[in-house]
Symmetry: C2
Subunit: 334 residues, 2 copies
């Protein structure tokens, strides 16, 4: 049917239907006043010519791309995958497409991506768990009319914010305190490397010390939020500090990597060594023993962020902050 030639344009349809291009445009967009007869006729011609509007031409004149950009550190991390799914569902529902940018946990890549991306590419931007320091991130966000930032705080005029009710990294403090209260005395910490987000080590130490816990800097390691990184860091940590009786993982992947390292080191979980994570990914529930972690509605974060973004795109400039809950789920590793 379609002759794989030039695509039909508005003008082709208009000529064929014996009307002006505006009339066709109005039919396509359901705007303006068109008689039922004309509408039907135009629709029929559109179908016959297999006409589809050109996104580029539309975008040029309306200054809208009907795309939203979503920037995440790692699609393969189930935490982000769920958020993306939520975002995609809501975006799609509203006729928007999702432009996905994966930064592979690299600051350079994230900066490059955010630099490329701008308002002729997408109508709005969702940045999830940015790894960039403020002095780089904020100017990049400033270019946009509509931004939502997840898991991070930014000045109110720049973006809506979706974040945990806890301060960032505070989960680790809660986990450490919980471990201390349940009798652990030498608590290691695999701290995520997340500039501008993660609680400073000093705060972690101060807060743990505040409840009477022993704190020693050699017990802490910083690593990327991946299974491999957690495994590597824990292996090293346990080799050098076999005295540890608990490890706080920055997230589930890291905690799970630590579990593997602990098992390989011949440790018994939880008798010998307790481990915690954060995010509650499926895998954490299914390993043996299941990982103690913080639950959080990842899918919902994605949907809420996208809804906030669409509001902003629609012109709402009020500051919105959506705080989500995270709850400690105690499982087999503690």
């Amino acid at each position: 049917m379609v002759k794989r030639q030039r695509r039909a344009t508005l003008e082709d349809v208009a000529r064929e239907a014996g009307v002006s291009t505006m009339t066709v445009s109005r039919v396509v967009n359901n705007t303006g006043r068109i008689s039922e007869d004309t509408r039907r006729h135009v629709r029929e011609v559109i179908a016959r010519l297999d006409y589809r509007p050109s996104r580029a031409a539309r975008a040029l004149v309306t200054r809208q791309t009907l795309m939203i950009a979503v920037v995440v550190p790692d699609v393969t991390n189930p935490y982000f995958a769920e958020i993306i799914k939520g975002a995609e569902d809501v975006a799609w529902e509203h006729g928007y497409g999702v432009l996905l940018a994966n930064t592979n946990e690299s600051q350079a890549r994230e900066a490059a991506v955010l630099n490329q991306l701008e308002e002729t590419t997408a109508d709005g931007l969702i940045v999830v768990s940015s790894r960039l320091p403020e002095n780089i991130l904020l100017p990049l966000l400033e270019r946009w009319r509509a931004v939502v930032v997840v898991n991070r705080q930014v000045p109110p005029h720049l973006a809506a914010v979706v974040r945990s009710r806890f301060e960032y990294g505070h989960r680790s403090i809660l986990a450490a305190r919980y471990l201390f209260e349940s009798g652990r005395r030498r608590i290691g910490y695999l701290r995520l490397k997340r500039p501008g987000v993660e609680t400073p080590l000093e705060v972690f130490m101060a807060e743990l010390a505040a409840v009477g816990g022993e704190v020693r800097e050699e017990w802490y390691r910083t690593c990327l939020p991946s299974w491999e990184a957690g495994y590597g860091a824990a292996k090293d940590l346990l080799a050098q500090h076999p005295e540890l009786d608990a490890i706080v993982g920055g997230n589930d992947l890291v905690g799970l990597g630590a579990m593997r390292a602990a098992i390989e080191a011949g440790r018994h979980i939880p008798a010998d060594l307790a481990i915690t994570g954060s995010d509650d990914i499926l895998m954490s529930r299914e390993v043996t023993p299941p990982l103690t972690t913080f639950t959080v509605s990842k899918y919902e974060i994605g949907t809420v962020a996208t809804r906030l973004l669409l509001q902003r795109i629609a012109g709402d400039t009020e500051y919105h902050e959506y705080l989500f809950d995270e709850e400690l789920v105690v499982r087999g590793t503690t």
Copy 2:
């Protein structure tokens, strides 16, 4: 600096720099002949005005969007997440963005997505594990100049193909035979619901029977490729057929769901019941006992598919088929 007014256009830069718009365009695109002096001067003005080319305008005249669309059934399935990561890396490397469409394992949604998507939205399309029947899928692909199809066969003129060296679903047959050879006699099968892709049940049965295995239709269930679906199907299957001593899972998530169901049913793995999966996701390696499965280089599938797509976008019309290997990794569940 940027006055958050109208964005600077080529014309603004041209006026400010005292040259024609073409000259600016040439500087921006590094085409044509421009003297070093002019180039430097124009660059300086571009920087001063913070000029960025409009994607929409470019796309309109060049008929290129510099986007590729990637359609997957489920971003949260680690198998697809890895593929997406590979695709994103290669696309980004070549200056392309990735438009992600998640179909949530729904045929209707996939058809709708593919219907919306066309060449004014992206320059090429990668469809991963399409769930659509041929009579719907093929016409939708026909609209594109550049398509790559993953995990599926299509007529050579329509798309390049990236697929397993095995026929689709043949892995399940191999798994069943392996189970039979290692002494299992009552083998259940959680077959994935994947129209046009999955081996028909009759073939599975015939192939298993061919090596002497017993085949009974009540031992088989069809389910979605998710953990929940696998769990549900296995729970039901095991309740009705406690005589089973092995279950072939259509993929890892399903196999893992089956493991949970089996454990809840008081079965011992592998003594009492063997289970297999396919895809080799991280979780399969980390559960106890680790799941026997088929390995496959998911990331590489993503990179290869994208490279093939970029070739096609560049005008290569030859048929390419990339066959990847899958290898059985025997682990604790068998």
